[in-house]
């Protein structure tokens, strides 16, 4: 069950963000709980104009799910502004990172990430194939996909680490990384990989078009700490 604060914060955000595409919105910048480790991480949740109509196997649209993931990766196990005493999982703030969560448009996420001097830029999405087939159970058809800019060695490393930390937790078993542009896993050139100065990795955390996958993405308080783990692994535990 999701905790109250996650739901409350995300709900408020999504009420406004879901109404109009293109509206400017304030980003959220989080300071680490303790001493800053010198790194800045920009999390950029999905902003699809058709969120909720992308075959999601549950009540939340992809944008909502992605925002939950970003929030939990940043603040997870730190509910009601108190570090969760029952958890030894460490979110990004506990690991010493400054985190900025993009709440405006995709264009503003690129602009803000660059202007803020982000070291890492991580768009957060969930994947879709076909609609209306939520009861599927063949896990080999699904999994975590992390995409990197084709010429970025660091981007490839970040994508590899995120796949290695998040992938084993997601229910789909076809976890992979792929490059962009050119790899058939994406048919378009992704703006957030091409135009950001930070090392970037674009996460499709799991497919939301099967109920098992949707439920896993929805329960991000349980697994989103793994994004911090992947970030730490990429940066060599700064």
């Amino acid at each position: 069950m999701r905790r109250f604060w996650t739901a409350a914060v995300a709900g408020v955000v999504l009420l406004s963000a879901a109404s109009v595409a293109g509206a400017q919105q304030a980003d959220l910048i989080y300071e680490p709980y303790g001493t800053w480790n010198g790194y800045r991480v920009y999390l950029s949740p999905a902003r699809h104009t058709d969120s909720g109509g992308r075959g999601e196997c549950g009540s939340l649209g992809e944008n909502d799910l992605a925002y939950y993931v970003a929030w939990d990766a940043t603040n997870g196990n730190y509910y009601n502004d108190v570090y969760d005493p029952a958890s030894v999982n460490r979110n990004l703030l506990a690991r010493g990172y400054k985190v900025r969560i993009g709440r405006g448009t995709l264009q503003s996420a690129i602009d803000n990430s660059n202007a803020w001097g982000a070291d890492l830029h991580i768009p957060i999405h969930s994947n879709a194939d076909v609609s209306g087939q939520c009861s599927r159970t063949d896990a080999s058809r699904f999994g975590t996909v992390v995409i990197y800019w084709s010429t970025s060695t660091n981007g490839k490393n970040l994508a590899t680490q995120l796949r290695s930390t998040v992938g084993p937790s997601s229910p789909g078993t076809s976890d992979k990384i792929c490059y962009n542009p050119g790899d058939p896993c994406t048919t378009i050139t992704l703006g957030e990989l091409r135009y950001t100065n930070a090392v970037a990795a674009y996460m499709e955390t799991e497919f939301h078009t099967w109920t098992t996958g949707y439920n896993w993405v929805y329960n991000s308080p349980v697994w989103a700490w793994r994004i911090g783990w992947g970030v730490d692994a990429h940066l060599n535990y700064p």
């Binding site: 604060w5 109404s19 304030a26 680490p32 303790g34 005493p85 999982n89 010493g96 264009q107 070291d119």
Partner: protein, 283 residues
Amino acid sequence: MERNHPIRFVTLVLFALMISMSPGFAQPDKAQSSPLARYPGFGYNPKADEDQFEREEAAREDRIARCMEREGFTYWPMRSVALEGLESTRKAMEVLRDNPNDRYMLLLSEEGRLRYNRALYGIDNPDALEADRLRDPRDPRATGCAAEALRLIPGVFAAKSALTEELHAMRQAVLADQRVKAGEAQWSACMQKQGYSLESPRALRQQMDLQVAAALGKPESLKALGMEHRKALETSTGCIKQSSLDKVVASTRVDYERAFVKKHRKFLDDFLRTLEQEPLDER
């Protein structure tokens, strides 16, 4: 949830130890001798950098609002919200509850929104995924009020942002330097005496993540791990002090930063001049 639960206290201590044990967290003792400290945005004066960033963002947003007004639209300046400490969640909720730009756009026709997007972003759809439908931030001819404001006020982190890949490579090179390796070997020997077989503090934290992942779904194992990790981190902190590892890392870093500045001096000096000329106070 009790506010003074003893396990919470243990967790907070654990967290504080995790932060303090990282040899990379400390500013170098020789901070003043690093030539990189002269350039804003590289982490030597984080408070001053953040303050400047706030001023720049405010100035940019004011410019955008005036520009949009000239284009026939109303725009409410949007500034990022810094969240820290006990009030963060509540503050986030308050800030996000109200978005006048969102309400304004709702009143526009479809054609009006298109013109609004072109005026603000210089493109039709600022939420398009495809690169060729977005504005290239490096394009000096890019149109739109936001692009114009960014060109005039590139900001305190502009140089750091442009050199992100090189900076990353330098930081990794510091960690791989023989002096740091030697310091880690001393730390390792210290840890060995306490019964730990680890190469570096980083290896300890990596091991902790692996152990947590393996213990998920087993509450008793996690609880025991929490205690074990706390003990290991306390030991590590002692060994970092004994081996002077943090000082070794810091002084090594200064050497690498000296070479970094030498390589990028012209770019960094140009950046300083650009910063001095930012029109932050024009109203």
